[in-house]
């Protein structure tokens, strides 16, 4: 029972922190219709920026939380610049340009990261407030991972609230449904795109900063996470936030419980799953039926 509880929590904490990143990818696609390959690299940059901030500020007196905030801000600013100066010019062109552009960003940003921080694996220690294990009744579980669960859940609720109860949320939902009408309704569409892209990137960056103490920073982490994100949004459905939520939880559990049943060929199964969803139900669980 304890074993099952711990594995469940492992999957849950992984899934919810994955949701943080996948949510941004899903929203960006939903509104801008851009498949942001660089999303994993935003996540990676968030982690490295947090590392840098922690190196300078130390972990005492909430240094880690400042670092997380800094990551969010840096990514938001970077994404805003990218969208305003470059991405915007590609909306009217063939999709291939956007795909290739975000891919080029992957190459560029990850190489800059390599130039600034090297390829050694780097680590951020757990913030002192969240060290150690917590008694959750059936077992003792690392506090930091419980915290990740809370954050993931809070973000999910927060996004839901924004979507359902605020004007911005309505605009974003409308944009996901039908972009063309939006302009006609007097909405400042370019501003919406800018905000969504920045917010999505900021989420990814914060996700990276928060995950860093648990997972460590290393080259290739962007490729790792973007593949996971793709699988999540494909299963959940591109553009659907709830889809991303369910997808992330599913992938999280698959990784922890799945290993128990099919350890050897796990790597093949992951891609087979991606293929299967795209072949039989490309719009995933909750996505819109289109382009398929």
């Amino acid at each position: 029972m304890m074993y099952a509880t711990i594995q469940f929590l492992n999957g849950l904490s992984y899934g919810l922190s994955l949701f943080l990143v996948a949510a941004g990818l899903s929203i960006i696609f939903g509104v801008l219709r851009v498949l942001n390959f660089a999303h994993g690299t935003f996540y990676m940059l968030g982690g490295y920026v947090a590392y840098e901030a922690v190196s300078r500020l130390g972990l005492a007196n909430g240094g880690f939380w400042v670092a997380v905030a800094v990551s969010g801000l840096v990514l938001a600013a970077l994404a805003a610049v990218i969208e305003r100066l470059m991405l915007r010019k590609l909306y009217e062109r063939d999709e291939i340009y956007q795909l290739l552009f975000t891919f080029a960003l992957v190459l560029l940003i990850s190489d800059v990261i390599r130039g600034l921080w090297g390829t050694q694996v780097l680590s951020i220690s757990f913030p002192p407030e969240l060290r150690g294990a917590q008694d959750v009744g059936l077992a003792f579980y690392p506090r930091y991972r419980l915290f990740l669960c809370l954050v993931g859940g809070a973000v999910a609720i927060g996004i839901w609230f924004v979507f359902q109860r605020t004007r911005w949320g309505r605009i974003i939902r409308a944009a996901t449904q039908d972009r063309e009408i939006l302009g006609a309704l007097g909405v400042n569409v370019p501003r919406v795109y800018l905000v969504v892209f920045s917010a999505g990137a900021a989420l990814a960056g914060i996700g990276g900063a928060l995950a860093a103490p648990a997972l460590a920073l290393k080259p290739g982490m962007d490729a790792e996470i973007i593949v996971e994100c793709f699988i999540v949004v494909i299963i959940g459905g591109l553009g659907s936030l709830w889809g991303a939520f369910i997808g992330a939880l599913l992938i999280g559990q698959l990784r922890s419980i799945g290993l128990y049943f099919v350890p050897e060929w796990e790597i093949v199964l992951v891609y087979l799953l991606m293929v299967a969803v795209l072949v039989f139900r490309p719009w995933g669980l909750l996505g819109k039926r289109e382009g398929a």
């Binding site: 992984y14 050694q120 680590s123 648990a214 080259p219």
Partner: protein
């Protein structure tokens, strides 16, 4: 299409031709050695360090009069961490830089790819880092030599430690690719010899590109094993150790034997307090052991070059590969490939960590393993390996 448009194409071809022909004008007096290491890509930082070790020994050799009284010219090319690029780098070294010998390689894939080129071009290749047993078994050929330890030695040495700790029920946690499987083979083989009653009761095989080891950690903690054998190497040990710490794995399991050079200075420093005390782990090199002249000399030079009193362990790999090669050429008295091969077989030479012997049958140097137990230190800000020892390879490299 007019001339103007054709110019760039012709220009590029011209550049290539000039580069190729320029080589013929060289003096053939110096001995030319080529090195292929990943200078870009995910292994860049460590590849650059290995290349540094290579440059250090070349400089030292030249300062002491060269090899056979001849100067050594060294060329380093970027293998970029992939076998296809390593193939191209090795070929460029041979056909463009006209090297007489090649050293290097980082990943096992690179090592095997370079080895194929060495076979085709009939040039001696000394592998500095690749551990895969494939190179000295199924894919062995006479031009291939290895200065690095192979996976049998590494796995076998871990078995020795595990056996000395008296562990009967073992959990094994290895990465699911050829290195992990080969390491397991080496470990099992020697464990059988030492203690047929010791049993591996649980095996977990995390994939290579996984960052979250928690499901595997939980699996291991759920097992009744008293000792854990891990092959989670180098940088990957960092997230693993932190996650394992937060679950209390190192407290629950009495013994932990970590292969994969988790005891490297860089890893220990990066983990800081999170480096688990009491585990046994290995490293390519320990800057404070052994206390012999050759090693101390090496460490001093490295300290100066890196301006770091506690240098990383990677440069020794590039350093020792060239030491083997230089010794072979000296012993042969010529740079003729066949003669150097014959000279290297069975040769004992002095290296920065002491004498090494190259076995004639598979051209494998008896490169042993530095193992140590992680302990707190009063002297330094980081933990150290104490006690630390060198496990000989001769009995376990099969």
């Amino acid at each position: 299409m007019n001339l103007k448009a054709r110019l760039p194409l012709l220009g590029m071809t011209a550049i290539a031709l000039v580069m190729a022909s320029g080589v013929q004008a060289q003096d053939d007096e110096p001995i030319r050695i080529g090195a292929a290491y990943p200078l870009t890509g995910p292994a860049a930082t460590n590849g650059v360090l290995a290349a540094l070790g290579h440059d250090m020994i070349i400089d030292k050799i030249n300062a002491e009069g060269g090899i056979l009284g001849r100067r050594v010219e060294s060329f380093t090319r970027d293998s970029k961490g992939t076998p296809a690029d390593a193939t191209a780098a090795a070929r460029d070294l041979i056909t463009l830089d006209n090297v007489d010998f090649i050293v290097g390689g980082f990943t096992s894939g690179e090592g095997l790819a370079i080895s194929e080129v060495a076979l085709q071009e009939e040039v001696i290749y000394i592998a500095a880092i690749p551990k895969t047993i494939q190179m000295s078994e199924d894919n062995f050929h006479k031009y291939m030599f290895r200065a690095a330890a192979n996976t049998n030695t590494e796995g076998g040495s871990a078995a020795i430690i595990m056996n000395e700790l008296g562990v009967k029920r073992i959990c094994a946690m290895l990465l699911d690719y050829s290195y992990g499987h080969d390491l397991m083979k080496g470990f099992k083989k020697h464990l059988e010899r030492l203690d047929p009653e010791a049993e591996i009761v649980t095996e977990v095989w995390p994939a290579l590109n996984v960052s979250d080891y928690t499901p595997y950690i939980t699996e291991v903690m759920n097992s009744d094993c008293t000792g854990v054998f891990s092959g989670i190497w180098g940088g990957l040990f960092i997230p693993f150790a932190k996650q394992a710490n937060s679950f209390g794995l190192f407290d629950q399991k009495e013994h932990f034997v970590a292969a994969g050079e988790a005891g490297s200075q860089e890893i220990i420093e990066e983990l800081g307090d999170d480096m688990p005390t009491g585990i046994w782990t290995n490293s390519y090199e320990v800057w404070y052991f052994p206390d012999i002249e050759a090693h101390n000399e090496y460490v001093e030079e490295l300290r100066t070059r890196l301006d770091n009193p506690y240098p990383p362990s990677w440069p020794i790999t590039g350093y020792m590969a060239v030491q083997a090669l230089a010794a072979g050429i000296e012993a042969a008295g010529t740079t003729d490939t066949e003669a150097v091969i014959a000279a290297l077989e069975g040769l004992t030479y002095e290296s920065a960590i002491g004498p090494q012997t190259i076995r004639a049958s598979d051209h494998q140097a008896n490169r042993g393993q530095f193992w140590g137990q992680v302990a707190e230190s009063d002297e330094y800000d980081f933990k150290i390996l104490d006690p630390v020892r060198y496990i000989e390879a001769d009995d376990i490299m099969d």
